[in-house]
């Protein structure tokens, strides 16, 4: 079932590629159909998921590269379930949302988006470290494509920066993965990259540190944790709407997901030790993101920096290493996906009409586009974490979790709540309020039926999660509990064999002693 979920979009992409490029309508519908089917499958998965069990469900595994112990193994637990759900919901929306704006290269665009969906789902569902890494890197290609080919004027720079920055960070993770694998081979007596097997491995403290650091840098860039964020504004700004939506809604979650999924299992001691550092960076990110957002003149850049701020909350929640914090972090991931995705769609609506992202080019739009104003307001409030919307649930739990660790974390984190209201409302006012300022007011027609349909599920989700987040929280609670339980594991580092002993299967002596 999970494999079907992962590869259904890819099959859709293949179908799209087989269609002649002139038949744009057919291409669009095939694309939508395959991502829609994926959505249905995801919904079925959500329904069939057993909330009471904190381990992996629906697991599948097969040998892939047996010589090295690499396997194809996928599974889902409460943590990945939420992100999978988010993914399958966002992608059809992103596809439909770009029907109006992508007119050149529809075929390649649709195929790239679908391939991206496949890679993202694979990332969230992989239980084998190498498989995870494969999907993780595979995500970069279609995304960079989306930015580089359908992006704004500075797209090439943005795409290359996005690609190189995130890749540079993640290649170190590959080396770290191999190192874990080697220690595991010594301790377990078998070659494996399977997460569940590696969970039994105790890394010695020294290597735990650098392995955690390698993982953390890879994830932190993706999140992005301050000060590793500068690729994000450029990528967001230049990407086409669908790209921004997917980037913000889903790709950034890959980083936070990585923290939750791998750090507690592989490097629990280092995670516990580094938690204050992570929290510190998260708080800086929250405040910094908010402050810098406030000074932006470009709408997309503003939202990009708001992502830095909002993802800071997720990281703060994770760093609190308690149930509320982690659960809040998860909900915040989903919430940010929905609300920031919607914000980018909102900007996309404006951009489609006037081809400007500059805040100063707008003003008084609310009067011309009342329905749009309502949607924008709702999305904005969700992003500003107004109670009753999804954003509040996540931020509340995160801040509560953080506060329970240290009142200071809570106190500083709360600054973000004020800040987000300040810059979001400021931007909203500049764009929507005041006297109309647009050069071509006649272009600012209200939302079309298609656009309303695009926003409808997002708005529904905003309120649904805001008013009744239980279905999500219930499903993830057991898994988060299991994850946190790993951190309580007594440190067995002392009893560990040194990594040099009996590595590898070959009888050759060790080389390159320093």
């Amino acid at each position: 079932m999970l494999s079907a979920l992962i590869f259904l979009p890819l099959a859709g992409a293949a179908c799209v590629l087989l269609l002649p490029r002139e038949r744009e309508e057919a291409i669009r519908w095939v694309g939508l159909a395959s991502s829609g089917l994926t959505l249905l499958l995801g919904a079925a998965l959500f329904a069939a998921f057993d909330p009471s069990f904190g381990g992996m469900q629906f697991t599948e595994s097969a040998a892939w590269l047996p010589a090295l112990g690499v396997g194809y193994s996928v599974g889902i637990d409460g943590i990945s379930l939420l992100l999978v759900l988010l993914t399958v919901v966002i992608f059809p929306i992103a596809l439909v949302g770009s029907w109006g704006s992508i007119t050149q290269g529809v075929k390649a665009f649709t195929a790239a988006v679908l391939a991206l969906e496949c890679a993202v789902l694979g990332t969230f569902l992989s239980l084998d470290l190498i498989l995870f890494y494969v999907f993780w890197e595979a995500v970069l290609i279609p995304m960079a494509f989306l930015i580089a080919l359908w992006g704004g004027p500075n797209r090439r720079y943005a795409a290359i920066k996005f690609f190189l920055y995130t890749m540079a960070a993640s290649v170190l993770m590959l080396v770290a993965i191999v190192s874990v694998h080697i220690v595991a081979a010594a301790q377990l007596g078998e070659r494996t990259f399977a997460l569940e097997r590696l969970a039994d491995v105790s890394l010695p403290p020294a290597s735990q540190w650098w392995i955690f650091a390698a993982f953390a840098v890879a994830f932190a860039v993706k999140v992005p944790v301050w000060p590793l964020h500068t690729w994000l504004p450029d990528a967001h700004t230049e990407a086409p709407t669908a790209g921004s939506v997917v980037l913000a809604a889903i790709l950034l979650k890959m980083g936070t997901y990585g923290f939750v999924r791998f750090a507690p299992v592989l490097t629990p001691d280092a995670l516990v030790a580094a938690a204050p550092l992570i929290a510190g960076l998260a708080i800086v990110g929250i405040v910094y993101g908010a402050a810098v957002s406030w000074a932006q003149t470009d709408l997309k850049r503003l939202i990009a920096f708001s992502s830095v701020s909002h993802l800071g909350f997720v990281m703060l929640g994770i760093a609190s290493l308690n149930l509320q914090g982690m659960q809040g972090g998860l909900i915040q991931m989903v919430s940010h996906g929905i609300s920031t995705g919607a914000l980018f769609l909102v900007v996309g609506v404006l951009y489609d009409r006037t081809h400007s992202r500059q805040i100063s080019d707008y003003g008084g739009v609310a009067a011309l586009m009342p329905r749009f104003a309502v949607v924008f307001t709702i999305v904005l409030l969700s992003s500003a974490a107004l109670p009753g919307t999804n954003g509040f649930v996540g931020e509340f739990l995160v801040l509560l979790g953080a506060f329970r660790v240290s009142a200071w974390w809570g106190a500083l984190g709360v600054l973000g709540v004020v800040g987000s209201a300040a810059y979001l409302l400021w931007a909203y006012q500049q764009v929507m309020h005041g006297p109309p300022r647009a050069k071509h007011p006649e272009r600012l027609v209200d939302l079309s039926r298609r656009e309303l349909l695009v926003f409808a599920p997002l708005v529904a989700a905003i309120f649904l999660i805001g008013l009744y987040p239980r279905p999500l929280l219930d499903r993830s609670e057991a898994a988060v509990g299991v994850t946190l339980a790993r951190l309580q594991r007594p440190s067995v580092a002392a009893a560990c064999t040194p990594p040099q002993a009996g590595l590898g299967l070959t009888a050759l002596p060790k080389r390159c002693q320093p």
């Binding site: 590595l503 080389r511 390159c512």
Partner: protein, 492 residues
């Protein structure tokens, strides 16, 4: 029968034809093609390629079915490495043959000698893998190299092609002399040129300056063929100037031969004195990765960029050799298999594009290729992604195998090499993806003037094979890795 001088008769031993059957088949095919060329009309040269491919297929079959053994007074060995080398060289040769005809026809170079030389070079590479003797290795290298000089200079009357041939020839013979002197010193130290005996005697000796000097000189000679920094300088110029089909072939076949020889020399022959060379090879590998990738960064010529990229890949391959474990060696073979496909493929793409009747070697010449030749563009993109080592292509599996082996078997040095490897890979992403970007960029100025796409059926076949291989290894790597895993038996 007794000679007048009263000398005893020379009884030649029986020729162990079964061992060298694959090489013999290729050689015979080459000769048949050389002769048949005299009778085949210019329009029917396609038959020659077909004939050659049939011969290569037969040779591959022979390589797979031949039984292992040592023969020719211990000069020749047929083992897993030989078999792997045969298949790699045959694959590279087949692709090299398929890539050429369209180009040769367009430029009036369509002569049977081309195919003959390609197959002889292929034989040389096969023999390099099978050499169990340093003299044999030297002769194999020459068998590989001399045809390549000619292939580089095959575009007669073209200064750049001539220059490529000249530089290649000059520097190659220069390096060969070093190699020979190294062989002489090793021979002087141990009294033999058979590799296993030589390795065993070197291991017995406590330390010998001559053995070390000899090994260093041999490294220069073989490293030259593999284009390792600082013995690489010929490669960019030669690849830049030589006709594209030749480059597509030589970049790959030279690596196959050289790295199989390096594997034969270092882990297998000198394995017991590994401490003497791991650091040296590691440093060379680092320099190769760094210089190759950095110099490729700002190239504007597609061929030249790929030339530096091939240097960089030599660096990655050498990481595997320097690590020297069975796992690393197996990874090197997998890497070579992938490189045969993606390296040839990347150059082959350029065969189909020409600007104003000549090679289209500027990267800008490929602008908007996606719109005009979507399949060709997709193939290029795939090769670039694979060369960059990104999943889910074979390039990733190849690099992953090498780096994993280095981390696992190389200690801190191996870890450092792997880190440097992945970081330089990131740099490489820049110049590979630049090509992809140019190919797919839409609406950025007019398409370049005078650029034409010239499809060719045989080229299509070559590309299809290469694509299939790159994807196959990327998605289901076990097929290739389990095969290259057979080299483990050599280490027992």
């Amino acid at each position: 029968m007794r000679a007048p001088g009263g000398l005893p008769p020379i009884t030649t031993p029986p020729v162990e034809i079964g061992l060298i059957l694959p090489e013999v088949i290729v050689l015979a095919t080459a000769l048949v093609v050389l002769v048949a060329d005299l009778w085949v009309g210019p329009r029917r040269r396609g038959w020659l390629v077909g004939l050659s491919l049939a011969g290569l297929a037969w040779a591959a079959w022979a390589a797979l079915s031949a039984s292992p053994g040592v023969g020719f007074s211990g000069m020749y060995v047929r083992d897993a490495l030989t078999c792997a080398g045969d298949l790699l060289a045959l694959g590279a040769t087949a692709l090299g043959l398929l890539v050429a005809p369209g180009y040769l026809k367009r430029h009036g170079l369509d002569r049977g000698e081309y195919y003959f030389l390609v197959m002889i070079a292929g034989t040389g590479a096969m023999l390099m893998a099978a050499s169990r003797d340093l003299l044999m290795l030297f002769l194999s290298i020459e068998t590989l190299s001399i045809p390549l000089y000619v292939l580089a200079a095959f575009r007669r009357g073209f200064a750049r092609s001539q220059e490529a041939g000249m530089k290649y020839f000059l520097l190659s013979t220069f390096a060969s002399a070093f190699l020979l002197y190294g062989i002489a010193l090793l021979y002087g130290t141990t009294g033999t040129t058979r590799m296993p005996e030589l390795g065993a005697r070197l291991a017995e000796l406590p330390w010998s300056a001559s053995g070390s000097a000899g090994a260093a000189l041999v490294t220069i000679g073989v490293g030259f063929k593999a284009a390792l920094v600082p013995f690489h300088a010929w490669a960019p110029d030669v690849y830049d100037g030589a006709p594209i089909p030749s480059v597509a072939f030589m970049a790959v076949i030279a690596k196959v031969g050289a790295f199989l020889a390096l594997v034969r020399i270092f882990p297998l022959t000198l394995g017991s004195t590994a401490g003497e060379w791991t650091l040296a090879l590691g440093v060379v590998a680092s320099m190769t990765m760094v210089v190759g990738n950095l110099a490729a960064l700002l190239q504007s010529s597609y061929k030249r960029m790929l030339a530096y990229s091939s240097i960089a890949h030599a660096g990655y391959l050498l990481v595997g050799v320097a690590t020297g474990t069975a796992q690393a060696t197996s990874a090197v073979l997998t890497y070579l298999a992938v490189y045969v496909a993606m390296g040839t493929g990347a150059f082959a793409v350029a065969v189909a594009v020409e600007r104003e009747g000549d090679e289209a070697d500027r990267i800008e010449d490929y602008a908007g290729l996606a719109a005009r030749a979507p399949l060709l563009a997709a193939a290029t993109a795939l090769f670039m992604v694979s060369l960059a080592g990104l999943p889910p292509t074979g390039g990733f599996v190849a690099k992953f195998g090498v780096f994993a082996a280095a981390v696992e078997g190389g200690g801190p040095g191996g870890l450092a090499l792997a880190l440097l490897g992945v970081l330089t890979s990131v740099i490489s992403v820049y110049y590979y993806l630049r090509v992809v970007y140019v190919i797919y960029s839409v609406g950025e100025g007019d398409p370049p003037q005078g650029v034409r796409i010239l499809p060719c059926r045989m080229l299509g076949v070559a590309l299809a094979v290469a694509i299939a291989a790159v994807i196959q290894v990327g998605v289901l790597p076990a097929t290739v890795t389990s095969f290259s895993g057979r080299v483990v038996e050599l280490f027992r």
